[in-house]
């Protein structure tokens, strides 16, 4: 296996708009995600961070540049089940139990019943939902549903995990708890993660590197090295740590550089 999980060179995506105009969602993106690395994409709405994730997942195709996932095309990687994915909406199948939802990728790819059950039981323990295996999704809270979705994404032990604002719809307390759990899970699975978010503390707490993006057209503005240590080094104490606050400040500065421009421009209009 290649030591590089995701390699993007000059990747762009333009959407055809109405009456001949086109919208550039993403332009000239160069990004390398190493195997086992946790990278967050952060930026204002419309900066193309979700678009970039969808390109990596081969849910959409770039209109320019090249993109490889473990040295193959995104399509090959998708068909080889190289990655697991979690969306902002948990996207569970409401007519299946929690266990059956987690088993879905396995049963689709021909894994036998006993192996499936064993794997699902492990994953249920990993996300702390063993007691809810036979429940249906609508009997669970939003945070629990999201944990099921993460377990489903991990079902095939992918070496890459793609997450599109998976905690975006959750309250702050549930969010922090799930972040701590995600750090632990990533330490156990050693998967590379591309994590889309618009929360600065979340990006800093979770990531090795934070990719700061700007909008219209979506570009990478800056990459902030967080390096707060891996796995068990990161616990809730980290949220009080000076290095953590320092990283938060650096990400905020990178983001607000652009926002500052916007504010100034607006201020000028008012006067």
């Amino acid at each position: 296996m290649s030591a590089v999980a995701v390699e993007a060179t000059g990747v762009g995506r333009t959407f055809p708009g109405r009456s001949g105009t086109s919208v550039t969602a993403l332009e000239g993106v160069d990004l390398t995600v190493a195997a086992g690395e946790f990278v967050s994409l952060i930026g204002p709405s419309g900066c193309g961070k979700s678009t970039l994730l969808r390109l990596v997942a081969d849910l959409d195709r770039p209109t320019s540049g090249t993109l490889t996932v473990f040295g193959r095309s995104p399509e090959q990687a998708r068909l080889a089940h190289d990655y697991g994915i979690a969306f902002q909406q948990a996207g569970l199948l409401p007519w299946r139990t929690v266990r059956a939802n987690i088993e879905l990728p396995l049963s689709m790819h021909g894994v036998g019943r006993t192996a499936r059950r064993r794997r699902a039981s492990d994953l249920l323990a990993l996300v702390g939902l063993t007691d809810f295996a036979e429940h249906f999704p609508d009997q669970l809270s939003g945070g629990m549903q999201q944990r099921v979705a993460i377990a489903r994404a991990l079902a095939e032990e992918p070496s890459l995990l793609l997450m599109d604002e998976p905690f975006g719809a959750l309250d702050e307390m549930t969010r922090e708890r799930l972040q701590t759990e995600l750090v632990r899970i990533c330490a156990e699975t050693r998967a590379a993660v591309v994590f889309v978010t618009h929360s600065i503390p979340e990006a800093v707490f979770l990531s090795d590197r934070v990719v700061v993006m700007s909008a219209r057209p979506g570009r990478i503005r800056d990459v902030v090295d967080v390096s707060l240590g891996r796995g068990t080094d990161r616990d809730d104490d980290l949220r009080q740590d000076a290095a953590y606050f320092d990283a938060v400040t650096r990400v905020r500065a990178a983001l607000h550089d652009e926002a500052g421009h916007a504010v100034r421009a607006r201020g000028a209009e008012v006067r």
Binding site: L79, W95, M108
Partner: protein, 258 residues
Amino acid sequence: MTGRAPTGVAVLHRAAPVVLGLVLLVAWQLAVVVGDVPAFLLPSPTAIVGELVDLWPTISSASLSSGRNALVGLLVGAVVGIGAAVLAATVRVVDALLGPLVAGLAVVPIVALAPVLYTMYGAASEVGRQLVVAITVVVPVFVTTLRGLRQVRPVHRDLMRALGATRRQATAAVTVPTAMPFVFTGLRLASSLAVISAIVAEYFGGPRSGIGSFITTAAAGSNYARAWAFVLGGVVVGLVFYGATLALERWGSRGGQP
């Protein structure tokens, strides 16, 4: 329901419609007797029940006959409607072709086709009636099924693609379960239509076997209480169909879970 033993309020809720029905029946009876209403205007409930008891073998066999036609037509129409909807959802061209056809079918006074069909299949055949029912059923089943097949949520579509699911896998895992509640609702709507059109089709001729045939005969012979007794038989058939498809819908909307 809070407790196992029904509370007084719960009993009252259950009993209220029954009581109302009884009060209305008594009022009806009183109005006919006291007001001396002629039978051709409104027969009394006791007269109707009397006819119902006297003619029970005929009414029950007529109900079965109409019910059988409705059932055959419902099944044929449901199979055709669901099949066409699946085709339309899969092949865009078929959708473009079937759309106007179904719209046209929806406005044809289908029951009025009955005399034409009787001539085609012979006066002793029930096929014409079953066809009338089938054509009536096709439209609501097609429309609701097609709608259901298009309800797949974008996040589920993304998930299926991310999992590299084949078309068949995605259909079985997501499209069909999403569509099921819509299909069952279509069947419930169609079941009432099926019974109504089976009975009304009999007004236009054909073999003298079902509820509709006997209603026309009784009414033509000025035997109004008897006509009403047959109407009552038709109501029972309709309720059975509605109840059965409603149960099916409840079962289906729980995703087949008991």
